[in-house]
C-alpha cells in the first residue's frame, strides 16, 4: 500500500511538472512570436519611414528651389528696371529680395537637409552661388549674376531632387509592400507557432490526462483487488476448519471463529480473556519455552501439543503449529498459530493405549502362566510316573492282570500329559524366543528335515518332491519346526500306498507363498480354521496320535515372522497347506 501511494504521488508530481513545462513552452513560443513581430514591425517602420523622409525632404527642397527661382526672377526684374531707370526703389527692392534668396540658398545646403544634398551633383554650384551672393552683399556691391545660369543650376538642382523624390517614393512603396508581407508572414508564423503550441499543450494535456486516468484506473483496480484479497483472506481466516490466531509482537491478538468455537467462546469473550487464563496451567511454560526459542531465532516454527480450557471447564487437547513472521529488518513481527482440536484423538489414543497395555499385560501374564504352569506341572507329574514305575518294578509280581492294566493307563496318561506339557512349553516359548532374524536358506532346512524324518519317510514309502526354495529372513530353528510339522502331518494323515508331498513356492507382492500339497485324507471345509487352534484335534487318538499342537505352533511361528498360514483342499484328494513369509 505504501509503495503504491508513493508511486501515485510520483505520478502526480510528473503530471504537475509536465503541465508546468507545457505552460513554459507555450509562454516561450508566444513571447518569441510577439518579440519577432515587434522587431519586424520596428524594422519595417524604420525602413518604411526613411524613403518618406527623403521624399518629403526632396519635396521641401524642390519647393524652396522654386521659391528661389521665383525670387531670382523678381530679383532680375528689379535689376533690369534699376539698370534702365536707376530708380532707387528698384535697388532697394533688389537688395530686399537678395536676402531671402540667400536665406533660402543657405537653407538648401545647410541644416537638416544636408544628407540629401550629398546625393545631388549640382549642390556645389548652388553653394557657389550662395557664396558669391553673400560676398557681394557683404561688400554692398550690386551683384552681377547671370540670371540664366543661376536659374539653370537651380532647375538642374530641382530636377535631381525630383528624381530622388521619385526614387524615394518608389522605394517607399516597395518597402511598404515588403513590410506588409513580412508583417503578414510574421503573423502567419505566430499563428502557426501558437497553433503548434496549442497542439503540443493539447497533446501533453491528453497524455497527462490519459496517464492520470490510467493511474486512477490502476488505483481503482488495485483497491478492488485489495478488497477482494482482504475478503478472501478474511473468509479463509474465519472459516478455516483449523483454529488460527495472529499475535502481533507487542500488539493485538486476533482469533478466528474456529479457534473461538474450539474453546466454546464467542469472539468478544475471547478478546476479553488473557491467553494464560485459557491455557491449561501446566502447558503455559511449555508455550513460553517455544516462544522464547523462536524470538531468539533458534526456531522458525514450533509444533507441539497443548491443552486449553473450554468455556465449560473441560480440558481441550490441541495440536499447535506456530510460525514467527519477521519484518524486513528480521525483527519479530507476528506469530501465526494453527490450532487443531485433537481431544477426541487423544481420548481415543488413551483408550487404545490402555487397551494395549492391558493386552500386553494379559499377554505377558498368559505367557508367564503357560510357562510356570507347564514348568511346575512337570514336578508332580514326574513323581506320579516315577513312583508308578518304581511300584511296578518292585511289586509287579504281586499284581493281577487288572492291576497291570490300570498301571498301564496311569503310565500312559502320565506320559501323554508330559508330552502335552512339553508342547505347551514349546508353544509359549515361541514368542519369548528372542533370536535375531537372519538369512535362512530354506533348502538347507528342507534337507535337515528330510534327514530327521528319513525313517518315517521310508516306512511310509512316501515320495517328496520339492522346488528350489528361496532364502528368507527368519529364525532358523523356528522355521525348521514349521517345515518338520507340516511334513510330519502330511505323512501321518495319509493312508495311500504311496503318499506324495509336493513342495512349491511363488512370489506374491512382497511375499513368498509356500505350498505343501499332499494326497492325504484332507480336511473338510468347516474344520480348516479350527485345526490351527492349540490342542484342537479332528481325530480320535486311536486313529492318529499327537497332541494337536503342531499346527498351532506353525501358526504362531509364521505370525511371528509376519506371514500367515492356512489350508486349502487339493483338487483331487488331500490338502494344500500354504503359508507366506515376507521377502
Amino acid at each position: 500500500m505504501n509503495n503504491h501511494s508513493e508511486t501515485y504521488l510520483k505520478r502526480n508530481r510528473n503530471v504537475i511538472f509536465s503541465s508546468l513545462a507545457a505552460a513554459i513552452i507555450l509562454a516561450g513560443i508566444t513571447w518569441f512570436g510577439v518579440y519577432q513581430i515587434n522587431t519586424l514591425n520596428k524594422q519595417t517602420q524604420s525602413l518604411y519611414r526613411s524613403p518618406f523622409v527623403v521624399s518629403n525632404s526632396s519635396n521641401k527642397l524642390i519647393n524652396k528651389s522654386e521659391e528661389i527661382i521665383d525670387l531670382v526672377s523678381d530679383w532680375e526684374i528689379y535689376k533690369t528696371d534699376y539698370i534702365i531707370v536707376h530708380l532707387e526703389r528698384d535697388l532697394i527692392q533688389f537688395e530686399e529680395i537678395s536676402k531671402p534668396i540667400l536665406e533660402q540658398l543657405n537653407a538648401l545646403y545647410l541644416g537638416d537637409l544636408k544628407e540629401i544634398n550629398v546625393l545631388i551633383s549640382s549642390n556645389d554650384e548652388v553653394i557657389q552661388f550662395s557664396k558669391k551672393l553673400s560676398k557681394a552683399q557683404n561688400k554692398g556691391v550690386f551683384l552681377d549674376l547671370n540670371k540664366k545660369d543661376f536659374i539653370a543650376t537651380l532647375n538642374n538642382y530641382k530636377k535631381e531632387l525630383l528624381v530622388i523624390e521619385n526614387f524615394a517614393q518608389n522605394k517607399a512603396a516597395e518597402l511598404s509592400v515588403k513590410a506588409t508581407s513580412i508583417r503578414n508572414e510574421a503573423k502567419t508564423q505566430l499563428q502557426i507557432s501558437l497553433f503548434l503550441g496549442l497542439i503540443l499543450i493539447g497533446f501533453v494535456a491528453y497524455i497527462v490526462i490519459k496517464k492520470n486516468k490510467k493511474d486512477v484506473d490502476e488505483i481503482v483496480t488495485y483497491q478492488k483487488n485489495l478488497e477482494k484479497s482482504e475478503t478472501l483472506f478474511r473468509s479463509l481466516f474465519e472459516n478455516s476448519p483449523i483454529g488460527i490466531s495472529m499475535t502481533e509482537i507487542g500488539g493485538k491478538v486476533q482469533f478466528n471463529n474456529t479457534f473461538c468455537k474450539i474453546l466454546g467462546y464467542t469472539k468478544e469473550e475471547v478478546d476479553r480473556k488473557n491467553w494464560k487464563d485459557l491455557t491449561f496451567e501446566e502447558d503455559i511454560s511449555k508455550s513460553d519455552v517455544y516462544v522464547k526459542k523462536m524470538l531468539a531465532g533458534e526456531l522458525d516454527d514450533a509444533f507441539f501439543d497443548k491443552r486449553y480450557y473450554h468455556k465449560n471447564g473441560a480440558v481441550i487437547w490441541t495440536s499447535i503449529a506456530t510460525h514467527l513472521i519477521r519484518n524486513e529488518e528480521n525483527k519479530p513481527k507476528l506469530f501465526i498459530t494453527f490450532v487443531s482440536d485433537i481431544t477426541e484423538k487423544i481420548k481415543a489414543q488413551s483408550i487404545l493405549n490402555n487397551l494395549n497395555t492391558k493386552l500386553q499385560d494379559s499377554n505377558q501374564e498368559l505367557q508367564d502362566f503357560a510357562y510356570v504352569a507347564s514348568h511346575d506341572l512337570q514336578e508332580p507329574l514326574r513323581m506320579i510316573s516315577s513312583f508308578i514305575q518304581l511300584l511296578e518294578k518292585k511289586l509287579s509280581q504281586h499284581f493281577d492282570e487288572d492291576a497291570k492294566k490300570y498301571m498301564h493307563f496311569v503310565l500312559d496318561g502320565a506320559s501323554r500329559l508330559q508330552i502335552m506339557i512339553n508342547d505347551l512349553l514349546k508353544y509359549s516359548r515361541i514368542n519369548t524366543t528372542e533370536h535375531e532374524k537372519e538369512k535362512v536358506d530354506l533348502n538347507q532346512i528342507m534337507s535337515n528335515v528330510l534327514d530327521i524324518l528319513d525313517q518315517k519317510i521310508i516306512a511310509k514309502k512316501a515320495e517328496i518332491t520339492t522346488q528350489k526354495l528361496p532364502e528368507v529372513l527368519g529364525i532358523n530353528s523356528l522355521l525348521q519346526t514349521v517345515i518338520t510339522n507340516l511334513i510330519e502331518n502330511a505323512l501321518k494323515y495319509n493312508d495311500e500306498a504311496v503318499p506324495t508331498i509336493k513342495i512349491s513356492h511363488q512370489k506374491i507382492d512382497g511375499f513368498f507363498e509356500f505350498a505343501f500339497e499332499d494326497n492325504g485324507i484332507g480336511i473338510d471345509e468347516p474344520y480348516r480354521e479350527k485345526i490351527f487352534i492349540i490342542f484342537k484335534r479332528l481325530h480320535q487318538k486311536s486313529e492318529y496320535s499327537g497332541t494337536g499342537i503342531g499346527l498351532s505352533v506353525c501358526s504362531r511361528i509364521i505370525k511371528k515372522h509376519g506371514g500367515k498360514i492356512w489350508v486349502e483342499g487339493a483338487s483331487q484328494k488331500g490338502s494344500i497347506f500354504k503359508f507366506t513369509l515376507p521377502k
Binding site: H375, Q378, R382, S385, S386, F387, Q389, A414, Q418
Partner: protein, 143 residues
C-alpha cells in the same frame, strides 16, 4: 575302595527317594547326605551348627528350585569359596528353560541335568553322573 561322600540338596522328598534308589544300585561305595533346603545345604558345606563335624562331600547334586536359599545362590556361594570351588556340582532340575541353563553355566556349574520323567532313565542318569565324575574325570583331592 574308599566310600565317596555325596551331598544331595533337594527339597522334593520323592526325588530324594529316587536318588537314593538309584545310588543303591551303584557299584561304588558311597555315603549320601541330604539337605532339604539351600540354607541347610550351605551350613553342611561350611560345617556350621549341627553340621560341625560333617565331612566335605566329593560330589554335590543340587536342585535349582529350593526353599529359603535358591539353588542358584547356593551354587554361587560354593563357586565363590576357595575350598569348595573344586567340588563338582551337578544341577538337577525339572526346568529345561534356556534361561536357567545359561544362569547355571555362568555360575560355573560343572554339569546340568534335566530330571528325566522315566524312572529307569533317572536311575541311568544318576549312575552315569557318578561314573563320569568319580571315575572318568580326575579330580583334585580335597582335604
Amino acid at each position: 575302595m574308599k566310600a565317596i561322600n555325596i551331598l544331595l540338596i533337594e527339597d522334593n522328598l520323592g526325588d530324594v527317594e529316587l536318588v537314593k534308589t538309584a545310588i543303591k544300585e551303584n557299584k561304588f561305595k558311597n555315603n549320601l547326605f541330604v539337605c532339604n533346603d539351600g540354607e541347610k545345604g550351605l551350613k553342611f558345606l561350611f560345617k556350621e551348627d549341627e553340621y560341625l563335624n560333617q565331612v566335605t562331600p566329593d560330589l554335590i547334586l543340587l536342585d535349582l528350585n529350593l526353599p529359603k536359599i535358591e539353588g542358584k545362590d547356593v551354587l554361587a556361594k560354593i563357586k565363590g569359596n576357595e575350598t569348595l570351588r573344586s567340588i563338582p556340582v551337578v544341577i538337577l532340575t525339572t526346568s529345561s528353560a534356556e534361561a536357567d541353563v545359561l544362569k547355571s553355566y555362568n555360575l560355573n556349574a560343572n554339569c546340568y541335568i534335566t530330571k528325566p520323567i522315566d524312572l529307569n532313565k533317572f536311575i541311568e542318569v544318576i549312575k552315569s553322573i557318578e561314573i563320569f565324575w568319580l571315575s572318568i574325570v580326575k579330580l583334585p583331592t580335597v582335604n
